[in-house]
Every structure is written in structure tokens, then in C-alpha cells.
Amino acid sequence: SQKIEQNSEALNIQEGKTATLTCNYTNYSPAYLQWYRQDPGRGPVFLLLIRENEKEKRKERLKVTFDTTLKQSLFHITASQPADSATYLCAPFTSGTYKYIFGTGTRLKVLA
């Protein structure tokens, strides 16, 4: 069955450093992958979408890579700030589907 894995352990980093979060998937070949941010008690908020033919996508301090050979996406936040502290979810999905399947998320804490 399709499986999406994100680091279940919380990631603590120092302010100003680059945070790198991992999303691995198995048993399917997504053509698209989205990243969302979720704050406690709130619904997720869309951040970025990357297509399989795009190796890298950037938006301000955010960068996403998509390696279809490794079946992995990396999500980077450069010059991290305490306000970046949240849970980050990935959602890879295949062509022809309306379904969004989310990873369990990685909780990021940026320490001042």
C-alpha cells in the first residue's frame, strides 16, 4: 500500500540556521507534491507545490526538492525564525486523482 513517511521526531534548531525536513514515499509514483504548515489547533495552510519534472522550487526562504529516483522530497527553511515553529506536512499525489494523502508531519521548533 502507499506509504508516506516524515520524521516523527520533533526537529529543534537554532534561530538563523537552515531547517531541513524529509518526506519519503513508497509504493507509488506521485507526479505532484505539496507542502503545508499546520499550527496547533488550526487547519493546515498551503506552502508550495512541486511537479515531478521540477527538481527544485523556491518561495522566499522556502525551498523544496523532489527526487523521483530516491522517492523523496526535502523541505528547507533558510534563516529560520521562531515564528517558523509549526508542524510541516507533505502530500504527494498521483496524476488523475482527486485524493490528497498527507504524511504524519514533522514538528519543527526554532529556538531563539
Binding site: Y32, Q34, Y36, G41, R42, G43, P44, V45, F46, L49, L89, F93, S95, G96, T97, Y98, K99, Y100, I101, F102, G103, T104, G105
Partner: protein, 113 residues
């Protein structure tokens, strides 16, 4: 952009009681609509999705059901709640078509006692 309304924000219900959660969408027509449940400290579990009025796809066998009586209204129901139905219920919408970002509502925190 789309705005998703959900109510109530919190709900405490006894085991065996019925449930009705409503979600309405503003700012777009013919959206794709979704219901998710999130247990404490866990990921999002897709429960139902709909690509049109009266069209419901169920992802997980359970005692819940969904209906879409109007284009921008999505309802989650149960005839008899179980303890395991407790969780954070989120409604989401995306533009018609595929691969579009999802907009989420504020959620309903349901506690079944």
C-alpha cells in the same frame, strides 16, 4: 481566495448520540470538498471527498457518512458516535479540477464521552 466555514468549533457528545458537522465554502463555485480527521498528535486521515453535488467518495469504512446537498455545502454525519470518533475534524476545499492547493477550515474538536 476561498473561505471555509465550519461549526461548531468544539463539541462534546455522549457515546451513541448522533452527529452533524457542517462546512460551507465561499469564494468559488464547484469546489472539490474534503473531510479529514486528525487524532491527537497524528496525521490527517482522509474520510470523504466530493467533486460535485451528490457525489461522495468514502475512503475509510466507519460509522460516518457525508453528504453534499448544495454546491458549497458539505455535511459529515453519524447516527451513533463511538469513543474512537473523537478527534479534530477538518473540512477542506480546492478549486475544481486536480492538483490545486487545499484551503482548510478552522476545524471542529469533537470529544465523545
Amino acid at each position: 481566495s476561498q473561505t471555509i466555514h465550519q461549526w461548531p468549533a468544539t463539541l462534546v457528545q455522549p457515546v451513541g448520540s448522533p452527529l452533524s458537522l457542517e462546512c460551507t465554502v465561499e469564494g468559488t463555485s464547484n469546489p472539490n470538498l474534503y473531510w479529514y480527521r486528525q487524532a491527537a498528535g497524528r496525521g490527517l486521515q482522509l474520510l470523504f471527498y466530493s467533486v460535485g453535488i451528490g457525489q461522495i467518495s468514502s475512503e475509510v469504512p466507519q460509522n460516518l457518512s457525508a453528504s453534499r446537498p448544495q454546491d458549497r455545502q458539505f455535511i459529515l454525519s453519524s447516527k451513533k458516535l463511538l469513543l474512537s470518533d473523537s478527534g479534530f475534524y477538518l473540512c477542506a476545499a480546492s478549486l475544481a479540477g486536480r492538483y490545486n492547493e487545499q484551503f482548510f477550515g478552522p476545524g471542529t474538536r469533537l470529544t465523545v464521552l
